[in-house]
Amino acid sequence: MEEGYKLSSIERLVSQRRIEQYAEASGDFNPIHVDPYFAATSQFGTTIAHGMMVAATISEMMTAEFRADWPSTGRLKIRFRAPVLSGETVTAHGVVSRVRRRDEGLEIVCSVGVNKQDGQAAITGEATVLIPADVGRGAGG
């Protein structure tokens, strides 16, 4: 894997049904997510997705690429830039920005983010994963 390698992107519709399912799963019933009447009076005018629900697409993308190394060694640092409104479609994207050989293995740093359908960045950040030496050896970098 080399710098500039693009990870396979993941597209997802953020439906109100999914937002409500995430509220159940996370225990976060903030009305900005689940109460359309409250949300209508907010600065967004409608319900928005939980930030961590949207960020899950980045983790899914990293898991698809790095399999069990991601949940074992992954590091994620993100900023939530813009709310994702109910009904919007988002796309998680990533590109390898740095590859470093370390004693423990190959450290791969990816510039990651989630864009909304209009191209606006909803999330920006960095994800790092360590591929253990026995696997990483010979993988480039």
């Binding site: 949940p71 074992s72 992954g74």
Partner: protein, 136 residues
Amino acid sequence: MPIDYTALAPGDAISDETYRLDETTVARYVAAVGDGSAPISGDGRPDLAPPMAVAALSLRGVIVDLQVPAGTLHAGQELEFLRAVHVGETLNCRATLSQNSVRGERRFIVVQVSVEDGQGGAVMRGKSTLVVPAQS
């Protein structure tokens, strides 16, 4: 009793909760996020839980115990996954306040979270930045 956000100080314990990441919890999470990468398996043990399911669990106590007010927004998140978690594991999630500041009409709350397994082994660490209405 409502939380007095002005009285919260760095170092304050926010939550200390123990959860079992059972099949139902993971299935509910996967359905919500539509994660097509899960489950990962192959070592003969139960499937691995998506790491963000662990992260979501770690924030559950924060949301409940901080009585996060309506209109609160999540501004930033850092996560460090230290080992994969299998479905069915019991996890202890602790959160500590590391910053409480007001800028304009917004209060910035920064919380450090840590997740350990049943044997006290570290599973995940994180830092969450929440923006709550300043009048809270």
